[in-house]
């Protein structure tokens, strides 16, 4: 089976680990040795009005979408079946409306942000190549995701991601992915998955890494910080 599909084997059994490895080790290296470079790279000083709509929509949307993926992919179908939740109910009452809501927020947001980055002169000139690549990559990935869920999904009624794709994702985290599960998946989903892993692989080396720099200590910190240097 592996011999007859060497490329498919690489794509669905090796490539994800390359990218996740890059994500994990890259993040560790970035935070350990390049900590001062971790910032959100705000451009709010240069342009404010479009950012307000774009940034809020995108961030709220993408956080919703992220948790949507976790729920959709990590909760096995058997569990929802055991709870008596039918496929029909799961898809049409929970997954699709919530996915559509956050998906549309993220999509509209990322298109606004992408337009802003290239259209606003100040923002464009202050952008690094990495910033431009990141915004284009996110726009493409979110577009692919929306096309998968709302075009490729409904037009392939035989395909249920919970019985193929989701199992494969869980297998990745258990270190024995079966690449055959991915062979019958619609093309749009495949692109979405491949591109998504690529973004995870590039994550630590770009501005995206700011998503992991959460200031937990602020919640419990006193307001005024004094720094004292120890005397000899």
């Amino acid at each position: 089976m592996i011999a007859s599909h060497p490329f498919q084997f690489f794509l669905w059994s090796i490539y994800p680990y390359l990218m996740l490895g890059s994500f994990v080790f890259g993040t560790i290296i970035r935070f350990a040795f390049f900590h001062p470079t971790v910032t959100a790279k705000s451009s709010e000083l240069l342009e404010k009005k479009t950012l307000m709509i774009g940034s809020i929509m995108f961030h709220v949307g993408i956080i919703g979408v992220f948790f949507g993926h976790i729920i959709g992919v990590l909760i096995p179908k058997a569990w929802t079946d055991a709870l008596g939740i039918s496929d029909e109910f799961y898809h049409h009452i929970i997954a699709m409306p919530a996915g559509a809501f956050f998906g549309i927020l993220a999509t509209v947001g990322v298109y606004i942000l992408c337009f802003r980055r290239f259209h606003d002169h100040r923002v464009f000139h202050a952008s690094s190549t990495g910033d431009l690549v990141v915004i284009v990559a996110l726009t493409a990935e979110i577009t692919l995701g929306m096309l998968s869920s709302f075009v490729a999904g409904p037009t392939n009624p035989d395909f249920n991601y919970r019985t193929s794709l989701a199992i494969w994702v869980r297998q990745i985290f258990m270190f024995h992915p079966d690449f055959r599960l991915m062979l019958q998946v619609p093309l749009m989903f495949k692109f979405h998955v491949i591109f998504g892993f690529m973004i995870f692989g590039a994550f630590p080396y770009t501005r995206l890494v700011h998503a992991l720099a959460l200031p937990w200590q602020y919640v419990s910190r006193r307001f005024i910080v004094y720094r004292r240097r120890p005397k000899i």
Partner: protein, 519 residues
Amino acid sequence: MRIKAQIGMVLNLDKCIGCHTCSVTCKNTWTNRPGAEYMWFNNVETKPGVGYPKRWEDESHYHGGWELNSKGKLQLKAGNKLNKIALGKIFYNPDMPELDDYYEPWTYDYQTLFGPEKKHQPVARAKSQITGEYMDLKNGPNWDDDLAGSPNTFDQDPNMQKIETDIKANFEQAFMMYLPRLCEHCLNAPCVASCPSGAMYKRDEDGIVLVDQERCRGWRFCMTGCPYKKVYFNWRTNKAEKCTFCYPRIEEGMPTVCAETCVGRIRYIGVMLYDADRVAEAAEEPDDTKLYESQLSLFLDPNDPDIIEQAYADGISDEMITAAQNSPIYRMAVTEKIAFPLHPEYRTMPMVWYVPPLSPIMNYFEGRDSIGDPEMIFPGIDEMRIPVDYLANLLTGGNRIAIKSALYKLAMMRLYMRARTSGKDFDTEKLARVDLTERSATSLYRLLAIAKYEDRFVIPMNHKEQVEDAYDEQGTLGYDECQGCSLAPQHSSMFRKAEAGKSTAEIYAETFYGGIWRD
């Protein structure tokens, strides 16, 4: 009680001529780097005026500083900690000024001035330092310099809007003053309190507020937290930067660059001891007009033996205590009460203080058409051209009495010295009415008018050599981690010459021609 030492500054506005020397020397020292072009750690504003950034004093718009919540406790005006996350402010900071509120920095297209002879005089056009495109200049630093009398800027000053008495902005009654501004190095600094990363801090030994460039994550809450808008965002490094109170000079006992270069000798630097445990309590004074006095109550008498003993116990050095005893800041702010903090109603406990200006009224008494009777000075100050209300809104949170007594004192001191130097009689009983004696009036005159270098600057040495592991501090105080920020790449030709084996004198002769940088 926990005693800390705080370095502070007093600016004698009576002598400020608005020459901008402080701003320019500061800029040349600290902010002539890419990404920092629009920043002025020190700037001089004409008051009444719009200010920099535009209308920075309008806290109903920018939400800077502190306020009291319903329980009477201090709370950041921009919202408490949870509110910042709940309202999605981490994705978009609604209170942040935009670049146009400062100005878009530009340079000129100097190259067009050189070249073959043309029919028309060549013109260097303005070019944006951000986009590199030609731009029409519509706003810039000090765009309203010296325009305080004009109705355009008059209406836009938030301090004017608070004045109830009717002031007409007509030419005969126009007034203006200069207000040099820098970071206040507040005791209750809202920028430090706003920073989610904990990158901003007050130095324990002298209270200077700094941004740790290695820990700054570019949240920008410090920019909006600061009601004076004196924390800036470097669009190139994506980190916050601010006035450092020239800490490398202060550590060596030297004054800041702005103070050193002030041609009018208006700036004084010294230390004060204060009770750090009582700062929050003092800032929670509910009445805006009493905040100035509430701040004064924090400062401790450095000559009191009990205070000295406690200061030693809290690790304050001998040198610092001696400096506090001779501090010109303590003298002007606490003893004589002629210097006031800028906008105490922001509840920040600022540490750059201002002596209110008196000049227009003194002309009334000393100038060509002066009136003869010095008794008229008290009603005269009430009728002063710069309204006391305006000064009170600026410097005491609306406390008119404090401003007036300072002006009375300054005016009386000048009348006394004038009488003495011109050999006229002066009823010294009058001095007592403003809490002066002949001796204190003379010494105050020496401090304010003669303003000797060693009287103006009483700065203790920091003794960094007694602190272990200075290597740890790399990057936490300055901007060395800022790629592309140094000037070296821009002037790299000079370094290539050095590599090619030229002597320093040769490089100097080639690079600086008649004082002009020829890169």
